[in-house]
Symmetry: none
Subunit: 197 residues, 4 copies
């Protein structure tokens, strides 16, 4: 129970302050617990952060896999995938922004406790999520509904637009807003901004 409170508090503080400016003191104040308790459940600050990431993304990843395996037209699946991504980033965007920043920096030198194994695991997971998009695009190409392009880069491109839409606050935390944004992104992504001649 304390564990839950700590994770929730940590989510808020990390999201608001970033990794470094977030202090354990602030987290325990918000979690209404003692400092020792944090170190009972988590080996250190980085581990706490990592746990947070893992926990928050597991549902998202399951959902992503579910859609990928649906037997529907790829163009529809693209739209659905966009929606799931949007939902996830609307809910966890700030934390993810922090994560992405730290992955860069943490990766460069050996930092004490964020193990290389964990970092690798994260990168694989990230690649996997993008991979879901990629697979759907591939399916579209095979079925002839998507033009032949570098699906790897295209997937990243779509991904980056999704993230941007959330970070720029172009989408609110409501089903309608998310659905609408998904529509629009899919539209631009699929048909471009140029007028069809």
């Amino acid at each position: 129970m304390k564990r839950r409170q700590i994770l929730d508090a940590a989510y808020t503080v990390f999201s608001r302050k970033g990794y470094h400016r977030a202090t354990v003191d602030e987290i325990i104040a918000l979690a209404d617990t003692g400092k020792g308790t944090v170190y009972k459940y988590f080996v250190n600050k980085e581990q706490l952060f990592y746990t947070l990431i893992t926990e928050r993304s597991s549902n998202f990843e399951k959902e992503l896999k579910r859609i990928a395996t649906l037997d529907e037209p790829p163009l529809d699946k693209v739209k659905q995938t966009i929606r799931v991504f949007l939902e996830f980033y609307v809910a966890n965007g700030d934390l993810w922004r922090v994560l992405m920043h730290e992955m860069r920096c943490l990766g460069h030198e050996e930092t004490a406790s964020f193990t290389e194994a964990q970092r690798k695991k994260y990168r694989e997971r990230f690649a996997q999520n993008i991979g879901m998009l990629q697979a759907i695009l591939q399916e579209g190409i095979e079925q002839g509904t998507i033009r032949n392009c570098d699906i790897h880069k295209a997937a990243y491109g779509l991904y980056s637009v999704i993230v941007m839409v959330v970070f720029q606050g172009f989408v609110a935390d409501s089903k309608e807003s998310i659905d609408e944004a998904a529509e629009r992104i899919a539209d631009i992504f699929l048909y471009g901004v140029a007028k069809q001649s």
Copy 2:
């Protein structure tokens, strides 16, 4: 001269480590200078960071403005703008990533010396750069070569793709690589991934 060395070293360290993990000690080691020298030229770490940003972006911004005022077809100008953005981010991307992260967090609470004025200035500058893209898209809509869409969001979308391409390492630091990437981005952005029926 020492000032130059410090700025260059700071660029490297901030880019690699991010703002917080970058230490003044590391910067002076790389700059081969003394700690006092840093504080002779820059009031503090944040000011040093800010100076770096300002310095690096001034040429980029001039180039951006130049293109915006060219008397050419908007579709060509979009491509050129994409190229300039790519060049800039290939050269300064890592530092920018750090800046963007810090702007978020620094904005939250009062941090001693990164003045509100500076932060505001940065945000305006950023908005202005995106604004250049936006203006060109608007031109395209008026001339009927770009379909009617929310140019604000479209500009951000294009921007996010550019940044992503650089950060994912899809483009190398060579004229050819950048030109090719600009072509491809423009292509997808303008015509989408869906096969023209």
Copy 3:
């Protein structure tokens, strides 16, 4: 308990070295504690200093008030007050000297954490103590045992002599020495050095 040790060590170091030459490192060495502990109990060096002052003076002030309200001849009360002042300065003189010096300088510019409120409080407290002397002198004038003079200045004069006596080492830390000094100061103060014609 650590708090006590830190305060005691701080007293010694501040008294010996003055405010600026006193280092937190030296205080913790003497207090046999860690640096963090100091900042757990005191927000910063100045706050530590201020706490010291407040703590040490509270008994003294109570005693002073007690005497002021006694129903005895003013001339006797003057002597008693002198004694209380002497006791206090013999015990805390060195620290007070430092305080008085710092009040001058700290007052000039905005120093971060020694708040204006604290400084004001100190000044009021100081004025109040001198005020006790002043009130007794006034009583004497009204009862006709003290000649009509500027009691404000006279009180300061007496005060300065007391402080001097302690700082010049004219009085030792023993009841006898203090009593004797009080006698002598009172004598000179009340009757002057000139031979009565």
Copy 4:
């Protein structure tokens, strides 16, 4: 000439800020000279401070000696001496306050450059000045105009009152104000505050 400017600037800054808060940078800014120049004329900050003290006190000391050797009634000489002290402290009080504070602290441990010899010299000089007062009081006792008391302590007492009068701002920097204050101090010192029965 630069030397003069530096000394004057140093006087101002030391008086205002105290020894530690006074920075060489501030002094050279006020003296309108370069940092190197300071170290051409003075071996270091403490030496500069010491030179200042010496320079400022030499006239004062000459005047004191002159009065001591006058062939006048001791009671008159006491008044004159008080006046000379007042004049000196009104002009140099703030610097002296700083000096007195630093002597305490600098004396405790070996500080790099304020030599023991210098400190000793200062102490002797200070004792000598008080000694002038003392000698006059002695003269008075011998001539029977001053009652028999511990002249050493009495001299210090008188001295402390003089200093206090200046530091409390009870006297302005004008001949009239100083003369009047001298009168009053002499009066209280010689005849006390108690009403003559």
